[in-house]
Structure formats: structure tokens, C-alpha cells
Symmetry: C2
């Protein structure tokens, strides 16, 4: 039984579970740390083990370009190549097709209004992508070369990379796509999902990990009819797990509704992954609505930008660049057991960041990752006690 | 007895020793890791402990600018601020006075021909320094503000920083300075050394570390008469240890002669530090000529640039950026016990470097630092056995 629901909160979709992979067990709800190019930025595999990180997600598009899927396969797949021997996921590259294509033209990310910096329509955004029924032509961000990503090629590449959970190529839509376009893209995503399943069968034995699972991705934007239809269609194809992809609307409320509509149509005994989402609030809200897995670059990117996660600061972030920390002997968070908080003061981290020292990036990342690990453990603890996690409780 | 010679190699100046500081013992000959702004670039204090690094050197000029000496003192001095609780040295800022002044005008570093990239006369080099008998006016590299560095101020700052071994302000000369200028600079350095000693006495009790030692710096460029005179004069002032500073000539042969002349005039029972030098060959040659301590940014800078130290590669460097390592499953050095070699392949390090991943910098730095630690231990082992270290032996 690769996924097991251990406990449900009656009257809600929230549940405690465990996902069993060939490379270890993931207790859910879980945070999947983002290791786009094979390692979480600024840290090492030992660091991730020490922090209690359970599972990583790498990116098919980036690894396809460098060092190449054949190279990774030859070196033992992601597990052997990177030396992270725990569970791996790989994203399909579908989000890059979007972010270099329609996302660039519309100047948006997954949600129109959540990330102000990413939500501006960008008049200079020219698509690097040409989508056809066959697949996606993308210009390489490295040398401008034209690359072709088909549903089949993306599965073949992920077979070689050898992650435990892999995903089919999908077409993400933007919050500014109308219902007609979103429907057409969703239908294409469904056809691509069938092609992916088919080639997943015929490539059995390719690559270093015979125990891979291919999960389905639900699309449909923030249109209720489309989301529900997509979830039903993708569920009907027999995937052992599901990801919620694409546009999540124009507000947090839209996102929570998208999750509700999707979860309502998915089988209740299969794992559900919300792609690319991971603020503290969003995780709690999505767990309450039945999501089991989250990947998000925000905790590590925030760390590098000076925002250190703590439940005791407004917005759950302490901006270590703030001049008020120049002489502050306290750790970032007195309740944190991470290697950074155990040893370094806010003043020293402030100094390292201001001085542009490389050491800063790792120490900050260790803290934010450990925060996420402990935060997810707190959520699981609440669920284990039969309680729905509520931020008002921890923030007190 | 703060410094003890444990064994000498008859007929040479080479010796095995130990330097006792208030924060630990340094077995000599030793490599002093460069932590300019309070931490060795890209690593942490735990890393340095795990690697067996014995002692660090920070820079007075950089810490004076950021975060400021008073801030460091308030946070417990370098030991408390950085959490590296082992021995610390601080350089005086004299080298920055040079590198932002005459070194910039002449386009050179400590030796004219050793570092090709640093040895070009730079026609655009305009001095940011104005030297007077009183001290040095320097324009801040941050905001262009004028700063005044006097021998007295530099001691006061180092009292506040609290390193175990501190150095007086000196005037470094370039290999292109003539004998007359080099003599005048040397004589000024001697007068500054006396002023430093005097204020070192009157500032007793200032700062977090009452057990500081002030060592003297020998100048005189690559002129035999001047070097010998400087060593005799500085030795006569009663410093408990000595650093060899300034220009070391126009070739490695010049440098080795400078070391010989200087060592010949210094007391044989006091420690000797060769400032800013640290290639494998230079360390062996200088140890044979009686040097006990070396600081050099090269091992860590080389790591960040892709050059990983190993006795088995030509020039003792393996260029991990080379395409031939793309599929190489071996560790950087099969004989190395560093955390990087124990776990990661050349292929993965090559990938991380090519991908510009921050994780690379730490893994590479860990390797090169561990190499230096083991290399110095090998030198001490040879001396302990009564043998003069010889590179021909290890390179086989």
C-alpha cells in the first residue's frame, strides 16, 4: 500500500497519512523541499538529513538541460548522482513551459495577486514557448537552442532521472486566461496525461528506479466546472496519486476554492499534492481541505533574501537585514532547534547578510527548512490528536 | 610559555612547535584560515571545527567598516560574535592600505610575478590612500567616506575585536618601489611599531580578551640590507612573535631569500608568521626556512573558482570545471577524508559549479580547507620524525 490514510478529521477532508516509496516513508502532510537542479540551494544532502527533511523535488526541465538525463542515469539517477538517498519527486517541466510562455506574456505566476512582484502584467514579456498538440517547443534559457518537450519525452527523461514520484507534462494556464482557453488547455492536458500513462508503461525498466509512480495533474484554472471535470477525468485514468497544478485564481480565496473543488472529485484514498504552494497560511488552509504534500521554493528563497521564518514575528517572518538586529545577541527564534539558532546570533547573521558573505545563505536556509520540517510535524501532531490545525493557536 | 619549539631539524631553521593562546593551542607549522569578515567564506564555525582548522585570521579594516569594532566588542569580541571559540588573529589593515594605495598604482600584490592576474601594472589604478607620518587616510570602499587609520587607532580597534594575536599598522611596499622608498617606508613602519607597542600597553583592559599578544611586522621589501635591519629593529622592541610583511620581491626565489634573511635576524624561540602566503610549494619552502604560521586566501578562493587541491594532480590542483569530470563517479581525491570526498562525486561537484549552485562553494571549500589541515599535519609529522618536508615525497 504506497499511500495510507492513518486518520481523518470528521466533517473535513483533512487527514494524516504516510506515503511509502522505494527510498523511504514520507509522513503526510509533508513539505517537499525544492532542489531544482538536484540540491536545495546553498545546503548539502547531509544538511537535509540532519534537518529531518523527508522528500525533495527536482525539475525535469533544468536537469534535462544540465547535466542531461543520460548523465544523471549513468551516475545512478537522482539518488546516486546527488547522494540524497531519500524520496525524490520530479516536476514535469510543465510549469517552465508556462512560466516561459503564457506566464511571461501575462506577467503572472500561479496566482494573480498573491506575489506582488510576480503579478504585474509585463508588457515586455515575449513567449519563449510554442505549444502544439504534439508538445511544447521551448527556447533554452542557456543558449537559445530550440528544445522539444513532448509528453513522451518528459516521461522518458524522468525514467532516466529515477525519482520516486514523477509527473506528466501538462499545460498550465494563467489566471488571465478565459474559460474557453482554459478548457482547451485542460483537454489537451488530459490527452497528454493518457499519452504519458501509455509511455510510462512502455518504458518500464528504463532508468535506475523500477519503483517509480506516475501521478496525474489536475488542471482547469479557477473555473469550478473545469476543475471538477479535470479532477474526475484525471482520477478516472487510474493514477496512484494526484497533483493540483496550473492557475489557482486571483486570490487566496480562489485558491482555497480550487482545492476544495478538486479534492471533492479525487479518490479519498490517494495522495494529493498542491504544486508550488507553501506559505504558512496556505499550507494550513490546504491541509484543512485535504492536501497531503506541498512543494514551494519560498522558504529557501525567503531565507536567501533575509526573511527568516518564525511563528513569533508578524507575517511569520523576521527580516534579518533590519538595522535593529545589528547588536541583537538572541538567536533568530529562541524556540528553534536548528543548527543556526543553536549557535548564531541575529547580530552575526545580520552582519553576514550585510557583508554579502556566502556563509549567510546556508545558515539562513537551514533555519527556514528546519522551520518547515517542524511546522509540518506540528500539523501532523494536531491531526494525530484529532484536531484541525489552526494558525491562531500556534501564533499565540 | 606561549610559544614552544618542540623539535628542530639540525642544520636548518625548520622546527616543530606549539603556540598557546587563551583560546587553545596551535600546533605549528600551521595554516591560518582566512576569515576576513569574521567567517571563512561559504562555511560555518562548526564546519571549521569538524575539519580540524586550528586558527583563523580576520581583517581589522573590514570589521572596522562593518559591523564596527564597538559592535563586535559588545557581542563578546570575535570569539563571541562569530562563535569560533578557538584562536583568532587579526591583520592590522596595513595590507589594505597598500592594496588600495601603492599596490593599486603599481598594479601588484605581495610578489610581482607569482599571481599573474594580480601582477599587471594597472594604468587606471588610482590610489585611495594618503599616507602621512601620523597614519593613513583611506577612502571607504563602501561609501567613499574618508577614514583615518593610525597605529594607535588600529590597536584600539584590535583591542575591541579581541583576537589572540594582533598586529601593528605597517606600510607595505611594492616590488616596484626602489630601495630609497622602501627604506623610508620601513623606517616609518618601525616608528609606527613603537607607537603600537606603547598604545598596546595603555589600552590594557580594553576589549573582551585580556590575553592578547601584539606581534611585530618586519618590512624592508626584497632588499637584503633592509630586511635584515628591519628584522633586527623589530626584534629589539621585544615583541613575543613576528610577522613577515610587505613585498617579497619579483619571484619565488626572491621570496625564499627574504624569508631566509628575516629568519636569520629573528630570535629563534619566537613564532614567525609569513603574511598572505600559502601555496603548497611556498609553505614547504618557507617551513624549511623557519616559518611557523601561514595565512592565505588562496585555498578557499581557489575552491570557489573550481580548483580543488590534491597532491595527485599537476600543480596540486584539479579543475573541477573541466568537461572531463561530467560523468566521473570518483571523489575529488580518493585519499581525502573530507565531508565532500566522503560523499560526493566529481560529476556532482562539476554539475553544481556549472549550474552556479551555492552548495558548490561550501563543498569545494570544505575540501580545500581539509586538504590544508592534513597537509600541515603531514609537514608536522615529517618534522616530528626529524625530516625536512619535501614535496617530491608526497607527490609520488
Amino acid at each position: 500500500m504506497p499511500f495510507e490514510v492513518l486518520k481523518r478529521i470528521p466533517g473535513t477532508e483533512a487527514r494524516l497519512g504516510r506515503l511509502v516509496t522505494a527510498h523511504g516513508v514520507v509522513e503526510t502532510p509533508a513539505f517537499v523541499a525544492v532542489a531544482t537542479r538536484g540540491m536545495v540551494k546553498s545546503v548539502s544532502a547531509e544538511d537535509l538529513e540532519d534537518l529531518g527533511v523527508q522528500i525533495l523535488i527536482a525539475n525535469t526541465y533544468h536537469l534535462f538541460l544540465r547535466p542531461g538525463a543520460e548523465v544523471v542515469a549513468e551516475l545512478g539517477g537522482l539518488h546516486g548522482f546527488t547522494s540524497w538517498r531519500g524520496p525524490w519527486m520530479t516536476d514535469s517541466g510543465g510549469f517552465q513551459v508556462f512560466s516561459l510562455g503564457a506566464g511571461k506574456v501575462h506577467g503572472v505566476g500561479k496566482i494573480a495577486s498573491i506575489f506582488p512582484g510576480e503579478a504585474r502584467p509585463s508588457p515586455a514579456g515575449v513567449s519563449l514557448v510554442k505549444l502544439t498538440e504534439e508538445g511544447a517547443w521551448i527556447r533554452s534559457i542557456f543558449d537559445g537552442a530550440k528544445l522539444f518537450f513532448s509528453p513522451e519525452e518528459v516521461i522518458r527523461v524522468q525514467r532516466l532521472l529515477g525519482a520516486d514520484v514523477i509527473l506528466p507534462l501538462d499545460e498550465c494556464t494563467s489566471p488571465f486566461h478565459d474559460e474557453a482557453y482554459t478548457r482547451a488547455a485542460m483537454e489537451r492536458t488530459h490527452r497528454w496525461a493518457e499519452r504519458a500513462l501509455s509511455v510510462f508503461e512502455t518504458t518500464k525498466g528504463l532508468g535506475p528506479n523500477p519503483a517509480q509512480e506516475l501521478w496525474g495533474i489536475v488542471q482547469g484554472g479557477a473555473y469550478e466546472g473545469l476543475r471538477r471535470a479535470s479532477a474526475r477525468t484525471i482520477a478516472s485514468l487510474g493514477f496512484p496519486g494526484f497533483a493540483i497544478g496550473g492557475s489557482l485564481g486571483k486570490s487566496k480565496e480562489d485558491m482555497y476554492k480550487v482545492v476544495e473543488w478538486t479534492v471533492a472529485e479525487l479518490p479519498s484514498d490517494k495522495p494529493r499534492h498542491l504544486l508550488g504552494i507553501g506559505t504558512i497560511e496556505d499550507i494550513v488552509e490546504a491541509v484543512r481541505r485535504g492536501v497531503d504534500l506541498f512543494d514551494c521554493a519560498a522558504p529557501t528563497r525567503l531565507a536567501r533574501n533575509g526573511a527568516l521564518l518564525t511563528l513569533s514575528a508578524p507575517g511569520f517572518k523576521l527580516n534579518i537585514d533590519n538595522a535593529k538586529f545589528r547588536r541583537d545577541k538572541k538567536p533568530v527564534d529562541e524556540n528553534c532547534d536548528c543548527p543556526t539558532c543553536r549557535r548564531y546570533s541575529r547580530a552575526f547573521l545580520h552582519h553576514l547578510l550585510r557583508a554579502g558573505e556566502l556563509s549567510y545563505f546556508r545558515l539562513a536556509t537551514l533555519h527556514n527548512l528546519r522551520f518547515m520540517v517542524r511546522f509540518m510535524a506540528w500539523i501532523r501532531g494536531e491531526l494525530a490528536q484529532g484536531r484541525l490545525p489552526a494558525l491562531e493557536k500556534v501564533a499565540q
